[in-house]
């Protein structure tokens, strides 16, 4: 029974994240537009874009290789799986033992690996810029992320997301300095990883500071659609990661009744809305920074993560 329920929840989440991701993207765009006193596109605009792109034919550069065509699907699949394995509205997913926090970070790493390669495949200068910068950013963001993971897993005594979530739900946590540090660090990483301002501007082209857009410059049609979907999935993933790790209130624990699951779902959506709103505010509030300042930005987050971990290492087991 429980197994079946877990399986159902897992499946539900698979579908849920897929459906919810573009909505989140659209919502954030909308809020940003409103903050800038613009009307902005409708919230469901991303869905339209995706459908449109899916129907268009693919224009492929002559010297694009098989890798260029396989990459989008792999990227999408990896991101989707990762997103599906992060507890959103309920813990105790059937497949949650398959991966832990570290593995999820690594999964996103695989997606990025493919994306960067795809950027290099056609052999254009823009693609090169994109991949090179993306890898530089990630080479700092990933350790920072792992440091955050360390901090949490040291607190919860586990790298398993569901266990961490349940631990954070408990009252034993209290308010800890290292938690605050970790939270800030994680948010900075999330901003960097999702190519948001101030690291990168998802809404620009033909700007020498662009990173993510430069990589996917050669993509078109269904490939582009898949990649865009992956991008919004990634955004959703990071948001729900933050929520699940630092604000796991109302998340349904395995084996509860349907009502609690529904409640959990509702709370999750609300939390997403709040998170997206904050993101939008943040993005509109500050300006984009030079690429070579990014290292400082991420260095700070890495330091924060390390500091948090160190504090815990020292405070534990004494």
């Amino acid at each position: 029974m429980a197994v079946i329920l877990d399986a159902l929840v897992q499946f539900g989440q698979l579908v849920l994240v897929l459906l919810l991701a573009p909505l989140l993207t659209g919502y954030v765009r909308k809020v940003k537009a409103r903050l800038l006193r613009r009307e902005g596109p409708q919230i469901i605009q991303p869905y339209r874009d995706l459908l449109k792109l899916l129907r268009k034919e693919v224009v492929l550069a002559e010297n694009a290789s098989w890798l260029f065509r396989v990459a989008p699907y792999l990227i999408f699949a990896t991101t989707w799986v990762a997103a599906a394995l992060v507890p959103t509205f309920a813990t105790g997913l059937a497949l949650s033992p398959a991966v832990d926090l570290i593995a999820i970070v690594a999964l996103l790493g695989s997606a990025r690996f493919m994306l960067a390669l795809a950027g290099l495949d056609v052999g254009t200068s823009f693609g090169g810029i994109g991949s090179s910068r993306e890898m530089m950013i990630s080479s700092l963001a990933e350790p920072a992320m792992l440091m955050v993971a360390f901090t949490l897993s040291l607190l919860a005594g586990s790298t398993q997301l569901s266990s961490v979530a349940t631990y954070m739900q408990g009252t034993a946590v209290g308010l800890r300095v290292s938690l605050a540090l970790a939270l800030v660090g994680l948010i900075m990483v999330a901003i960097a990883e999702n190519a948001r301002i101030p690291i990168d501007n998802p809404a620009t082209h033909l700007e020498l500071t662009m990173v993510h857009e430069a990589m996917i410059l050669e993509y078109s049609g269904r490939h582009l659609a898949v990649i865009e979907a992956a991008a919004s999935l990634k955004l959703l993933l990071y948001l729900s990661l933050v929520l699940c790790l630092f604000a796991p209130w109302g998340v349904a624990v395995a084996g509860q009744d349907i009502a609690s699951y529904a409640w959990g779902l509702l709370v999750y959506v609300i939390k997403l809305a709040v998170g997206g709103f904050l993101l939008a505010v943040f993005e509109t509030a500050i300006a984009k920074m030079r690429v070579f300042r990014v290292s400082d930005f991420l260095g700070v987050s890495l330091m924060l993560g390390l500091l948090a971990a160190l504090l815990l290492f020292v405070s534990r087991g004494v």
Binding site: I102, G123, G128
Partner: protein, 670 residues
């Protein structure tokens, strides 16, 4: 029984080496040598595997009446040796298979064929050896044969230099190991490992032995700062030999370290772990940073060997630290991680070197700046290299990730150790490990992207053709192993259990029995990973996506010129090069680590000369450690050399001076 079989395989290899000397002139020799090597290695691999699975014939010893006369040559096969023999012979078998194909293009077969089987035999013997003398003899024999292979293409100046530095460092390592064994064996020279195991040494002695072992085994494994020879020597050899040196010989060095420190030296002190951790962390980060700055494909791979050896030593250091505090479970986890990474690295490093060798054969180029677009000419090689890159970058669902994941788990257990130094060290090492993993990913995006993707930068790269079937099959075998070890790690971990058992006196819980082959190093609630599920999910999701799209959405494709934001440029020079790819990271780390300097010459307007940019990097370790030593030797030699030019009277003065001095001493002594 098993030991005899292995010794026979080794004998076959040695005999082949001698035959090869005789048959250097003949063309069929290559085929013969590689076939025999392949058969022998496979046989040995089979034997060892059989032993590991069915604990039959373990810990049995053979004593041959050679070597030190009153001691004889002891050989012993225990789980530890078996595990490393698996690595050695797997590497040997695949390298021989590769050699069957790629060896045909060898310009100097006479300088490769005799030494290749001898090298294999040497590595096997080191792992089998059970007394200090045999160990060191075979150890140095291994170095010697590999040196000969490095010198195979001796006409290139830097190869000769590489060989020189290599043999010098190898002898330094051997000498320090020799002194270490001298301490362990004691004045009456009880060199048998059995005797050493039973003798207990004082803390000071142990400290000295640890230092000497780190120097000896570390210099062979390529630990920073003893790594300088490695990126010179490994690429200089023929590619399949590079694969053996990087993928296998360094593991033999790791074996030496484990054998001495964990097995022979008795219970460790906690600071051993700290020291080892420091060396490991430094190697991990510096190795990968060097690799990023490199644009010679094979040298880049060699630097990555330094990085991975660092990761292995991090695991070993954690193992030492835990074991010193009698934390058997964590120690077992750390050791499992290290040993599993030993296996994994040997697999994907061999794979990558084979790939680079195929590229080298097809294009005659090792410099990435002159390659590109090879994925069109040699798709299968490209695929194999891609898998290897993903594996070495610790990306799931491949094998590299599993061992690094285990290492992370071990690090996460380190707050339980009481020593403050370790408490502070562990998270820093964890950060270093994470950093090196991320940088490795960046580095291999560069390596694969610049070499295989984009547009060909030279004519040679343009007309590159897929390599022969033997080389390809060798690579594909390794690709398969990368995947299997990645999605079914449980079996490998279980196979390592007896090894870990003898090394730290405990092992991880049985993994293969768990539901859906999940691996759970400590506890269900704590952490778990399931490569199989992950693999199935990703593959399934990808298929579903593509199926749905192709079924219901468009599947039409139009080829056209690349868009490139509307500014397409025909010249391939506008592509990103390896140097430009690494530039952001060089900006971040370069000045600190390499004292990187950039000089940009832009000719004045109207001057048609192209603008030029030079990047100058310095290896600080080399400058700080090795240059002064060389200087000292040079200066002393020049100074003493004056004695060669004294007059006869001067010499007579020396003699009578010596006489008078001795007489004076005598007078004082009495």
């Amino acid at each position: 029984m098993a030991v005899e079989v292995l010794l026979w395989c080794i004998a076959a290899l040695l005999a082949t080496a001698i035959l090869a000397v005789a048959g250097v002139r003949r063309t069929t020799t290559a085929t013969l040598v590689y076939t025999v090597a392949l058969v022998a290695s496979t046989a040995a691999l089979g034997t060892v595997g059989w032993v590991l699975v069915t604990d039959a014939g373990l810990a049995q010893t053979v004593r041959l009446p050679i070597g030190l006369p009153w001691l004889g040559a002891h050989f012993r096969l225990d789980p530890l040796a078996a595990a490393f023999l698996t690595v050695v012979n797997l590497g040997g078998a695949t390298a021989s298979l590769y050699g069957l194909g790629d060896g045909r293009h060898e310009r100097e077969p006479g300088r490769v064929l005799p030494f290749f089987p001898a090298f294999l035999a040497g590595m096997n013997l080191v792992v089998l050896a059970d007394d200090a003398f045999t160990f060191l003899l075979t150890w140095e024999f291994m170095s010697l044969t590999s040196w000969a292979l490095v010198m195979a293409h001796h006409q290139r100046r830097d190869n000769a230099r590489a060989g020189y530095i290599y043999l010098l460092m190898a002898s330094l390592g051997t000498l320090s190991l020799l002194l270490g064994f001298g301490l362990l064996a004691g004045p009456d020279g009880s060199y048998a490992f059995e005797a050493i195991r039973n003798a207990h040494s004082s803390p000071n002695t142990a400290a000295a032995v640890l230092a000497l072992t780190l120097l000896g085994a570390g210099s062979k494994a390529g630990l920073v700062p003893m790594h300088v020879w490695l990126p010179l020597a490994h690429p200089a050899a023929p590619s399949h030999v590079s694969a053996l040196m990087s993928g296998v010989m360094t593991k033999v060095a790791v074996y030496g370290f484990v054998r001495i420190v964990f097995d022979l030296m008795g219970p460790p002190a906690w600071w051993w772990g700290a020291v080892t951790l420091l060396f490991g962390g430094a190697s991990a980060v510096l190795g990968v940073l060097h690799a990023l700055m490199e644009h010679d494909l094979k040298r880049l791979l060699a630097y990555h060997t330094v990085e991975n050896i660092g990761i292995i030593f991090i695991g070993l250091g954690l193992g030492l630290a835990f074991r010193a505090n009698d934390m058997t479970g964590p120690a077992a986890l750390a050791m499992t991680a290290a040993l599993f990474h030993v296996f994994n690295h040997s697999v994907f490093k061999s794979l990558l070197f084979f790939g680079s060798g195929a590229v080298l054969t097809a294009t005659g180029q090792r410099d990435m700046e002159r390659l590109g677009g090879l994925i069109h000419g040699m798709p299968i090689t490209a695929f194999a290299f891609l898998i290897g890159s993903a594996a070495i970058s610790a990306l799931p669902p491949f094998n590299g990730f599993v061992s690094e994941w285990l290492t992370f788990q071990a690090i996460l257990l380190s707050p339980q150790v009481p020593q403050w130094v370790l408490k502070f060290l562990a998270p820093a090492i964890g950060a270093a490990l994470a950093l090196s993993a991320a940088l490795a990913a960046a580095c291999f995006v560069k390596a694969f992207g610049i070499t295989f993707l984009g547009r060909p930068r030279t004519r040679a790269a343009q007309d590159a053709e897929e390599t022969d079937v033997f080389s390809l099959s060798a690579m594909l075998v390794l690709v398969f192993l990368c995947l299997v070890a990645g999605i079914l790690p449980g079996y490998f971990i279980d196979a390592l259990a007896p090894v870990v058992q003898i090394v730290v006196g405990g092992h991880l819980p049985q993994q293969a029995a768990l539901s859906w082959l999940t691996i759970v190093p400590i506890a269900e609630g704590r952490s778990s990973y399931n490569g199989l599920v992950l693999f199935v999910l990703i593959a399934g999701a990808a298929m579903i996506a593509s199926y749905v799209i192709h079924r219901w959405a468009s599947h039409s494709i139009r080829r056209s010129a690349s868009w490139d934001c509307g500014f397409p440029d025909a010249s391939t020079a506008t592509q990103y090069t390896a140097g430009s790819f690494a530039q952001p990271i060089r900006r971040v780390f370069g000045t600190l680590v390499f004292q990187a300097r950039e000089e940009i010459h832009i000719p004045p307007p109207g001057d048609m000369r192209p603008a030029r940019m030079h990047v100058y990097l310095r290896d600080r370790v080399w400058d700080a450690l090795y240059v002064p030593v060389a200087k000292f030797v040079g200066v002393t030699a020049t100074g003493l050399n004056r004695v060669q030019f004294l007059t006869l009277r001067g010499y007579l003065t020396l003699v009578s001076g010596a006489l008078v001095a001795l007489l004076a001493i005598l007078a004082l002594w009495q």
